[in-house]
């Protein structure tokens, strides 16, 4: 039996997932000049939908989480090299060698960029993420730590060379639909229905319009479901085979695998300090006592279909 056991129910994870999803808001903008081209973007997004499921095979599945792009302005600029005509001398000054009369000089493509356009995709595009993975713990020993160095000396080094337990997300398959056609079409239909009902049937009382919207909304949901069948099928096969399909998914999988081994969610120092360094109660040196550290052994995180469990032992 483990010395420390902590369990969190699936319902707690579901409530946490929904609140984190609802509170998430992402905004960013950037631009770059690449010689003849310039590009920029303004992004703003929030999350909608999706489910989280703790599964009996020690994996957690987040399914069909929508990224709603509230603002997605993509700008592209082209800088064409300046072309000037005219400016040549019509009547030269034979006495001074200068020019008395010049032809007018006209330049085109002087601006930078000369041609620019912005593609406003906000409110139209929805992306969708599905991911299945598990939490894994790894024990990290700093490569720079000399063999035989004690834990107190390692902690005192700058930067610290203390060992750590690390908690990673290990995504086993990842499916990203940059353009979630089903949701994009569904949202367009929703907007069209809302517009039509409000404008064409504006004479009806509010409850009647809501009723019509609800009936038509069910119809839109069916269309969403039908359009999503292909994606669902691909996700199902991916889940079954633990292989991500599609070039985008493949690239993201490679990135995710990289992140899963290099960017831990949590790091816990081992041995873990439970009492800080304290003043020496006796006169003389040293002025401070060492911190008290407790070795953590066999740290593991796993789940079944009902709960997530963390276990650890004291060494």
């Amino acid at each position: 039996m483990a010395h420390l056991t902590i369990g969190a129910s699936e319902n707690t994870f579901k409530a946490l997932f929904e609140k984190i999803r609802d509170n998430f808001h992402f905004a960013n903008s950037d631009s770059g000049d690449f010689g003849p081209f310039s590009a920029g973007y303004v992004l703003e997004a929030h999350l909608e939908g999706g489910t989280i499921d703790l599964r009996a095979d020690n994996t957690v599945q987040i399914k069909e989480l929508d990224i709603k792009w509230d603002r997605l302005d993509l700008s592209l600029g082209i800088d064409i090299p300046e072309i000037c005509v005219g400016g040549f001398c019509i009547i030269p000054n034979i006495f001074t060698g200068g020019c008395l009369v010049r032809a007018p000089r006209v330049c085109i493509f002087s601006a930078d960029p000369d041609i620019s356009f912005t593609l406003p995709l906000g409110g139209i595009i929805t992306s969708e993420i599905s991911v299945t993975g598990s939490l894994v713990t790894k024990y990290n020993i700093k490569p720079a730590r000399p063999a035989g160095m004690n834990d107190w000396d390692a902690q005192d080094m700058d930067p610290s060379l203390a060992n750590h337990w690390q908690l990673f997300i290990d995504p086993q398959f990842l499916d990203v639909d940059l353009f979630d056609i089903a949701d994009i079409v569904g949202d367009l239909l929703d907007n069209a229905i809302n517009f039509a009902v409000d404008n064409l049937l504006g004479f009806l009382p509010g409850w009647a319009r809501d009723l019509i919207k609800a009936i038509l909304g069910a119809f839109v949901d069916v269309i969403r479901a039908i359009l999503d069948i292909g994606d669902d099928l691909q996700e199902w096969i991916s889940d079954l085979l633990n292989v991500s399909f599609g070039i985008t998914d493949f690239i993201l999988q490679v990135i995710a695998d990289d992140l899963a081994s290099k960017f831990p969610l949590v790091e816990i120092e081992d041995p873990f300090p439970v009492l800080e360094a304290a003043a020496n109660p006796n006169p003389g040196v040293p002025s401070m006592l060492i911190p008290v550290k407790i070795p953590i052994r066999d740290l593991k995180v796993f789940n079944n279909d009902r709960e997530m469990i963390l276990e650890a032992n004291v060494g």
Binding site: M1, H3, T12, N280, P281, P286, L289, V292, I294
Partner: protein, 291 residues
């Protein structure tokens, strides 16, 4: 059965883990467990029990014990060397299987109870009889001349008179004794002024083999009263919910904080004890609300 069938978050700690933590503290911070006069500290072979320390203590030159003043002899400037050591501290959650309880505490350990075992070794260094009879006068003169009070400045005004150092009488050994003490108790939820608290309590204390019986009973009574009336009420914990902001470090992505509010599960048929002391563990059943 899942750990969280009757709660949102479950946490348990096994007695073996607790005892290992105490052992690590004892070896890495021995000065919390061992007290002796400077003379004993200089001659650690005088101690009643050798101190087992982690190697880092010697590498970092940390003290093995806390130096205290000699035990004063009233009416004199002298005192005797002594040492007091807490040599063992163990906890045993129900069922009792870490150490046997003395019969006075009515073993076996009852359900939802824990037992604590303390071993204390102490000793006073009595000067040799010859020294007191023949060498005391010369020792007194020597010590008084070497421990003369520093001259005080005329302008120096001290409200509290300077403390006169106690001169320790020399000794060759401590008269050591060791006592085992046991306590049994638990944790209960009580209501004070309309607020719910978690309060530790003591059922009984037993100091083993202390004679005469009257001394043992008096000491047990005194320690029990001190714990029940003085120490344990101060250790009661207000059972209130507290909030944890899970997205505190990412305010750019989460402008609205995501908080998880944690509180103890109320007592019910499905959670009859919270915390529960059972299966050699201390268990807590927690309610979590995400807001």
């Amino acid at each position: 059965m899942a750990y969280t069938d009757n709660c949102d978050i479950y946490a348990s700690f096994h007695e073996e883990g607790f005892n290992r933590i105490v052992d690590h503290i004892r070896r890495q911070r021995p000065s919390l467990f061992n007290y002796a006069t400077a003379a004993v500290a200089k001659n650690p072979q005088l101690l009643c029990k050798a101190i087992n320390v982690h190697p880092i203590i010697n590498i970092r030159n940390n003290p093995h014990l806390t130096i205290v003043d000699p035990l004063p002899i009233p009416g004199t400037r002298f005192g005797v060397n002594f040492a007091a050591q807490l040599t063992e501290f163990k906890i045993d959650f129900h069922p009792g299987d870490e150490f046997p309880l003395p019969p006075e505490l009515g073993p076996p350990l009852k359900a939802q109870r824990l037992a604590i075992k303390l071993s204390v070794c102490a000793g006073i260094g009595c000067p040799p009889k010859d020294f007191i009879d023949h060498d005391m006068a010369s020792f007194e003169n020597l010590e008084l001349s070497t421990n003369r009070m520093p001259a005080m400045s005329l302008t120096h005004v001290e409200e509290v008179p300077p403390r006169t150092p106690i001169i320790a009488l020399p000794t060759r050994k401590l008269n050591c004794f060791c006592l085992d003490a046991y306590a049994i108790g638990g944790m209960r939820r009580t209501v004070f002024n309309g607020k719910e608290y978690l309060e530790p309590f003591i059922d009984g204390i037993e100091i083993v083999d202390l004679k005469p019986a009257g001394l043992e009973n008096s000491l047990e009574c005194y320690i029990g009263l001190m714990l029940k009336l003085g120490i344990l009420p101060g250790l009661k914990i207000l059972l209130q919910s507290f909030s944890l902001n899970l997205t505190e470090g990412a305010t750019d992505l989460f402008p609205t904080p995501t908080n998880i509010v944690i509180s103890a599960m109320p007592i019910s048929a499905s959670v009859p004890n919270n915390p529960a002391i059972e299966n050699d563990q201390l268990k807590a059943f927690i309610k979590a609300e995400v807001i």
